[in-house]
């Protein structure tokens, strides 16, 4: 099979690239071993966290770009990033939409009772950005080991309660199982009534981010109706149900648009002819198959995604063996304190302004392979709170560049 574009990696940057290509009418294949960081960590869309309070993203980003010329954001610029973000937003129907408040970051509460700044927020989390104006109740589920209402509430200085869920007699309670249960009307009703019984004049009620996968806004509205307070979701330990919603929406849309969607397949090797990639060999045991294309996008993520690997001495890119810019020796990868900056996070693939890989002298390495997402060098997306912003805008623009639009 021959394609206009093959995208390797099914995280947010790969999905965004596939959407962009499909909209341009290109014959597209997307292949992924798994869903990467999207279904693990993504809850909201981070663009850049470290802005002073109330500062507009447009202004904050322009300042950031001045100081960080090698950052992926700087290669794109705010105007074009905003175009990519709008394309992302347009994918989501009104029942699960992403919005920002005043074109700036908002603070949302987390499962450790901290607040984190983020830019685009799904409709199920919006009510969590205005806790300071109300009295808050945090609800947890007895037996669910990845969220503790008392812990979270204590940090947020509000009240926490734990509700037993009789549906889980004798089986382990996991995030996806609770989220699926939330989609059942009678379950929500019983849960809502139980919470209502324990209300003490609260205006906001926070749940761990498990309010269903298919139609979370419906779950939120039903609970709000019964409880009589505003309901919001709180991001918790992986897996991320909100991330799964994003993945599900992309998958449904891409398949509908005729994109070939190969989830659970890994790429064994890339066949190169000089500086051109001709095809990739894909393994799906017991079969392996070759797919060719005019253009490729590498969006395999960092260490969790498998886009970067490290042995005792060196960080490398396993598929194309592209050079990875990195600190001199392993002793310099990480600093002494866990919570401080680690130079290893700045490592990754260097690219030119079109997002093709280059070496340290600036020489272009492959003619028809573009690089997108967190595998790029020059950012620390965890600390910067810039992960999804990088993934969305580089996925979008690497594709546009590939077709020279």
């Amino acid at each position: 099979m021959h394609y206009d574009l093959i995208i390797i990696g099914m995280g947010l940057s790969g999905l965004m690239a596939a959407k962009t290509a499909a909209e341009m009418g290109k014959k597209t294949l997307i292949i992924g071993k798994g869903t990467g960081s999207l279904c693990l960590f993504s809850n909201t869309i981070d663009v850049l966290g470290n802005l002073s309070e109330g500062m507009k993203m447009a202004d904050g980003l322009q300042e950031w770009i001045k100081d960080h010329p090698e950052h992926p954001h700087s290669k794109i610029g705010w105007k074009r990033m905003n175009e990519a973000l709008s394309s992302f937003i347009s994918l989501f129907p009104s029942s699960y939409s992403f919005t920002c408040t005043d074109l700036a970051n908002s603070l949302i509460p987390t499962g450790a009772g901290t607040y984190r700044p983020t830019y685009l927020i799904p409709s199920t989390m919006i009510a969590g950005t205005s806790l300071k104006n109300g009295k808050v109740l945090i609800v947890g589920f007895k037996g669910f080991k990845d969220f503790y209402a008392g812990y979270t509430a204590d940090q947020l200085k509000c009240r926490g309660i734990v509700i037993p869920l009789s549906e889980f007699q004798g089986q382990e309670m996991i995030a996806t199982a609770i989220a699926r249960l939330m989609e059942k009307g009678p379950f929500r009703e019983a849960l809502g009534r139980e919470v209502k019984k324990q209300m003490d004049g609260e205006s906001h009620v926070g749940f761990p981010a498990l309010l269903g996968i298919r139609d979370p806004l419906r779950v939120k509205k039903d609970l709000e109706e019964i409880i009589g307070a505003e309901v919001f979701e709180i991001p918790i330990l992986p897996p991320s149900i909100p991330g799964m919603r994003i993945f599900r929406r992309f998958k449904e849309w891409l398949i509908q648009r005729g994109v070939t969607f190969l989830l659970g397949h890994s790429v064994l090797k890339a066949d190169l002819n000089g500086k051109r990639c001709e095809s990739i060999e894909v393994s799906h045991p017991p079969l392996s198959q070759s797919y060719s294309a005019d253009r490729f996008i590498l969006a395999t993520g960092r260490f969790v995604g498998g886009g970067l690997k490290a042995h005792e001495e060196k960080i490398y890119e396993p598929l194309f063996n592209l050079p990875v810019v990195q600190p001199k020796s392993r002793a310099d990868w990480f600093s002494n304190s866990f919570l401080s900056n680690h130079p290893v996070h700045q490592s990754g693939i260097l690219v030119d302004s079109s997002f093709r890989a280059i070496d340290q002298q600036g020489k272009q390495l492959l003619d028809n392979v573009w690089i997108a997402g967190s595998i790029l060098a020059g950012h620390d997306c965890i600390r910067e709170k810039s992960r999804e912003g990088i993934e969305i805008s580089t996925g979008y623009w690497a594709t546009r560049n590939a077709f020279q639009v």
Binding site: F41, G150, G170, P235, V304, A310
Partner: protein, 509 residues
């Protein structure tokens, strides 16, 4: 509060706790004070080797003989705290076979059973050994779980009347010309202050010996040597694997329960509190040990850690009161004119009981009573915690696996089991809880279960202090062990852990 005791033991490592058991078996009342938890020093930071003594047979026959005698005694009195794995000393092509022959002869001299095995015999026993090996010598090495050993000693001593003050630091010592009168201590968790009146003091603080002696204006000639070790994610060999050459860095691989431990380095230090394992030490250990066991190269590691050996320098050793070159026992009455103080330091985990016996003998002689030691014949009670995963699964709490939440997926620790040990032992301090459960011991080193543990403490309303500060403190402490081994799968998982705490939870320094 004022406390009174006959003997105050300072230090809650194997030696101090061993002395507490020895004295209480002799009917002598004692109180033990420790500024952290049990085994906070070298007793909890070693490779868990039950020495056969063979390692010292060539260089230090006296120490070797002590080891083999204690090895036999521990197998009798504490079988539940150790595993009789046996050990091999292997010779590689670059090793000197003359040394091997000297080694065999020396073992025989000090009564350590040593059997020469051919290459094929050795590979038959341990298929992962370097196939280039020339020969191996089998000796009765084993592995030991130092924490169970110390805890069981403490429990038995407590049952017989010994008392323990953990997390209590000595702040000052009141003395007149030739005698210590009292000790001032402070509980570091609760803030309570104690005055302890005691007739005798035993300084069993190991590497901290001089920190203690400083309070009475004394000093020992003690050198501190850091030894670094790495823990693998799974057990690599069934037996202890040693290199048959003169002792050097990276010459031992000790199986311990479900894991193996690579050891060790030896680096002189000045600071007993602040030290770290460096990435280059880790690389050296892997390089050396993979010569003996090549699969070490691709093995996943879960943690690196270092311990400090207190080494007593020759001037002290030549003192006629030193009983053995393995450890130093100092009567400060003879050395410094301070009548009621004894220091015991140096030695090895495997000789802790002997050190306790000799210290207690000296004390009894000073008190002027005639009692004899019985720790070499009285079995340690308890069942230990050193069991294999299949036994663990069998002995798991009845509610685990029936829908009860499993807080630690690596080591299978259920919530009920945790809640039971929290209430039974009245545990509140995070590190104490971690010492007494399997939480944070597995592959993720607490990356997931610490958050859950803090959540459970909140649910039970026994959380103390700000949970996010405790969480950050734990993550920084954990980091010391993780940072030197970050590559491969461990690095991948660490990106996940970082994404949780610095990303989703936005924890900041």
């Amino acid at each position: 509060m004022t406390l009174r005791t006959e003997v105050l033991i300072v230090g809650g490592g194997a030696t101090g706790v061993g002395i507490a058991r020895d004295l209480s078996l002799r009917g002598i009342p004692c109180l033990l004070i420790e500024k952290g938890d049990f085994t906070s020093g070298a007793s909890g930071r070693n490779h868990g080797l039950l020495h056969s003594g063979a390692r010292y047979a060539v260089s230090d026959p006296e120490a070797a003989n002590e080891c083999i005698r204690e090895n036999r005694i521990l197998k009798q009195i504490a079988p539940h705290c150790l595993e009789e794995t046996s050990g091999l000393f292997i010779s590689l092509p670059e090793d000197d076979l003359e040394f091997r022959d000297l080694f065999l002869a020396s073992c025989e001299k000090v009564d350590i059973p040593a059997t020469l095995l051919s290459r094929d015999q050795a590979l038959n026993l341990e298929p992962d050994l370097n196939p280039d090996l020339l020969s191996a010598v089998e000796v009765p090495d084993g592995s030991i779980d130092p924490f169970s050993l110390v805890i069981e000693n403490a429990r038995d001593a407590e049952k017989r009347g010994a008392r323990f003050l953990l997390h209590t630091e000595i702040r000052s010592i009141q003395r007149d010309k030739d005698k210590i009168l009292a000790v001032k201590g402070k509980d570091l968790l609760q803030g309570e202050e104690y005055i302890i009146d005691t007739r005798y003091l035993i300084n069993a603080t190991g590497a901290w010996a001089n920190q203690f002696l400083n309070l009475v204006g004394l000093r020992l000639d003690l050198a501190l040597s850091k030894g670094s070790m790495i823990i693998t994610n799974q057990r690599i060999t069934q037996r202890v694997i040693n290199r048959c050459r003169r002792p050097s860095d990276g010459d031992i691989l000790v199986p311990n329960g479900l894991v193996s431990i690579l050891g060790t380095t030896s680096i002189r230090l000045d600071d007993v509190e602040n030290f770290e394992v460096t990435p280059s030490e880790v690389s050296l250990l892997i390089k050396e040990i993979s010569r003996m066991v090549p699969v070490i190269k691709g093995t996943r590691f879960i943690r690196a850690y270092g311990g400090i050996r207190p080494l007593v320098l020759p001037e002290e050793e030549e003192d006629d009161r030193a009983i053995s070159r393995g450890f130093a026992l100092i009567d400060h009455e003879k050395r410094d004119g301070l009548k009621n103080l004894i220091t015991v330091t140096g030695g090895k985990l495997v000789t802790y009981r002997l050190m306790a016996e000799k210290t207690s003998d000296l004390l009894c002689q000073k008190i002027g009573i005639q009692t004899s030691c019985s720790t070499h014949t009285r079995p340690l009670p308890g069942k230990g915690t050193h069991f294999e995963l299949n036994k663990r699964l069998k002995e798991m709490h009845p509610s685990t696996g029936k829908g009860e939440e499993i807080l630690c997926d690596c080591e299978i620790v259920g919530r009920k089991e945790l809640e039971e040990s929290l209430t039974k032992e009245n545990l509140k301090d995070l590190q104490d809880i971690l010492h007494r459960t399997r939480l944070a011991k597995g592959t993720c080193q607490g990356g997931f279960c610490i958050y859950r543990l803090l959540g459970v403490l909140h649910d039970l309303k026994i959380s103390k202090g700000d949970s996010n500060s405790i969480l950050k403190g734990f993550l920084e402490e954990r980091w010391k062990g993780i940072r030197p081994i970050l590559w491969g799968t461990t690095l991948k998982e660490e990106e996940l852990i970082e994404s949780i705490y610095k990303g989703i939870f936005n924890l900041e320094p």
